[in-house]
Symmetry: C2
Subunit: 437 residues, 2 copies
């Protein structure tokens, strides 16, 4: 993509309304603009990151055997009256009346709707287990939306819902999602630690939050230092004992959010305990019959008896992750994207737009990079070198290739790694070869 | 995908509420389920088709130089008061009050919001032309939603918005979208004819509707028979004269919707005029300053003067297209998917699930198909052969491979083309080779 044709309204000044790094940087890097309090438009750079995160989340859900559906944003209030949550949910639920005066709402989550789909279509234990997920916009009418996409009102969430015949099977489905989450966050370049959590308005006994550790996290967390050396499982073990073993290895070390941490009962000595800050990016629940019982979601069991299904739900804040990744990976100059979610892999800077030779060289390199399947943002504008470098650092592409008339005389370009700051002069073929890896 | 693990609740009976073929078939094929009037959940098979259509639409927008953004579903009412459409839009607009009593709405379209983004960020004629699009859910509170996804309330739309310095440039942007639409619909396996159209609540002078011709179309259309032999342009000619020539060739032959057709003034003799039925799948508008003037969307022109930008907007009904494709391509037995949007390319039927040999053979073939990158739905269930064939015809995958114990004795499988009904017995390697093409 040529920057001259792109829509990338970066800002030099830090917007006054932004209190945290990700909000500031997303505004400055031209990723988002606010439409109304807590409601954002995603400009091209932000949209690309959002889609990449969405795709990684999708791939790991598919790999774990979940099936993608797509439920609507607007729901009928009736189902929520059936489950009893219509009144419980309070003012966070955006309630709507349609032209015929029917009570509707903008879904803050989908337990009721998916349970309704399930009970209408599934009759037999032979059809279990099932795990259905979707990636759809949700709305929660936060009283004080803030921190950009980290606590917005309209937000993109992946939510999965599992249906099993027995509680044991249900825990297995829970474990499969637990492991999928470890893999998902690792692929996003994040260190996410599962912590026991309160279940809040979703309900149930078994629940974990996944928190990304970042200095600028929203809440205090405490965890054993052994987490720092653990890495996510490479392949998904679908055997239930294998899944349980992975879950055990990640839940045995101590980890707790501020609300759950109590120095009096904490089993870990202070030398081995790390106090940090965390950002919630995922939350999983096993809640058994909480929705299936009141909503009559049953199947015929192997013995012909009617069995109420065991359910769990599994959320990932897709739009929130954009902010969380930035909180975990930025410096004073801007964002540092992990390669897996970078909007472009390479930024190509023409530092000699007045030189026909330099421009023609850059045009050729741009075409070569694209032909090699490398996503590249090509700064072909007439801005000065300083502004171009600052802009590239701000938007945080993993690699920068700077081409100037002086280097060209020696047949070299400068390749910079955004994360390490390391710069090397290379001939362009070597630079291309290095990026192709 | 193994059918035994999939979620495909097909129906034998025709649902009473469905009046048209696409609605009936989408319900019967387990693609959608209604959540509330005109609001649908997309089950796995439907979700796959929807995403494939969305991706083709996206690729052709990108190819035409449009930039993808993502605007939210919920908008502040203020912008609509500025443009004057807040009152005009009437009861079709879903109006919402948030917890603080602020007037919001669920966007039925995005002219106001994109104009606001543009005017806040773009200052100079040097940044023009720009065409920004998104693919997002919209809501129109139809008084009588019907025909399934063809006239739903919550629907997925691709809407693009062009910004130009002059009316001439604006027409060029319009032409680029016109040509992109021809290519898009052709890739979706559709014959879509552009017709001059009323501009309705969007406004402007220059406008075309794209209508798919189908016996079951919603409205009567009249067009010259020469359209039947025209085919969409292969490559996108970005030269403005080239674009204009393509547009001219598609707008010179006569074509009119019922409202615009008048036998007294129709220039085409009755032998050369085809009367058919059409389904609107796209609508493009050039409306100049209709929004940019009241909303003050201006740039500095080359002479330093302030210029109000020239705008157009370009919609494609993505969710509606699922229905339109089915209306244009089905028979008494079910859907006939064009290859480009088929949820799976191949259906593999194991007709001998009780035979270990047959099952093991099918398992291997299933793996081979997947390894060859062919999307396959594998009916590994214990249903009878008749039910399996009927089910595959209903869901309309382009190819079926039936494997039975008798054929296996002769080393052959049956390959069926869903569209032509043609069946051939082949050895499995030849079947695989044929599908790899």
């Amino acid at each position: 993509m040529r920057l001259s044709r792109y829509f990338l309204p970066t800002l030099k000044e830090t917007p006054a309304e932004a209190q945290i790094a990700s909000h500031r940087l997303m505004l400055r890097a031209g990723m988002i603009r606010q439409g109304a309090a807590g409601i954002y438009s995603w400009l091209p750079l932000g949209q690309r990151v959002l889609k990449k995160i969405e795709q990684i989340v999708r791939e790991e859900q598919d790999r774990a055997g979940a099936l993608e559906v797509l439920m609507p944003t607007i729901q009928s209030a009736e189902l929520w009256m059936e489950s009893g949550r219509y009144d419980d949910y309070g003012k966070e639920m955006l309630r709507i009346e349609d032209r015929h005066g029917r009570a509707m709402l903008y879904g803050p989550t989908n337990e009721e709707m998916i349970t309704d789909i399930f009970r209408r279509e599934v009759r037999s234990y032979r059809d279990l287990p099932k795990n259905l997920y979707h990636i759809q916009w949700k709305f929660r009418d936060e009283i004080r939306p803030r921190f950009g996409v980290m606590r917005g009102r309209e937000f993109l969430m992946k939510d999965a819902y599992s249906f099993d015949l027995t509680a044991e099977d249900g825990v297995n489905s829970y474990n499969a999602m637990f492991v999928a989450y470890l893999r998902t966050f690792a692929r996003l370049g994040l260190k996410a630690i599962p912590m026991q959590a309160d279940t809040g308005p979703i309900g149930g006994d078994l629940s974990h939050e996944f928190l990304v550790i970042a200095d600028t996290g929203e809440s205090e967390v405490y965890f054993e230092e052994s987490f720092t050396t653990m890495s996510a499982p490479e392949a998904l073990d679908t055997d239930s004992a294998g899944l349980q073993a992975i879950v055990d290895s990640w839940t045995t070390p101590y980890a707790a959010t501020e609300e759950k941490y109590d120095p009096a009962t904490c089993p870990v000595s202070s030398e081995k305990l790390i106090k940090g800050r965390g950002i919630e990016v995922g939350h999983i629940f096993f809640f058994g019959e909480k929705y299936s019982a009141p909503m009559n979601a049953t199947v015929q069991g192997p013995d012909g008896d009617t069995v109420t299904v065991q359910m769990g739900s599994y959320g990932i804040g897709v739009s929130r992750l954009v902010g969380a990744i930035i909180e975990a990976s930025h410096d004073d100059n801007g964002i540092i994207w992990p390669e897996s979610v970078a909007p472009f892999r390479v930024g190509l800077l023409n530092l000699g737009t007045k030189s026909e030779e330099c421009t023609s060289f850059c045009d050729t390199l741009y075409n070569d990079l694209q032909a090699a399947g490398i996503e590249v943002l090509y700064d072909d504008t007439s801005a000065g070198a300083g502004a171009k470098f600052a802009n590239m650092d701000l938007i945080g592409l993993p690699w920068q290739i700077a081409v100037g008339p002086r280097g060209l005389q020696n047949g070299v370009v400068e390749l910079k790694n955004r994360a390490t700051g390391e710069k090397v002069e290379l001939n362009p073929l070597d630079a291309l070869a290095k990026l192709k890896v």
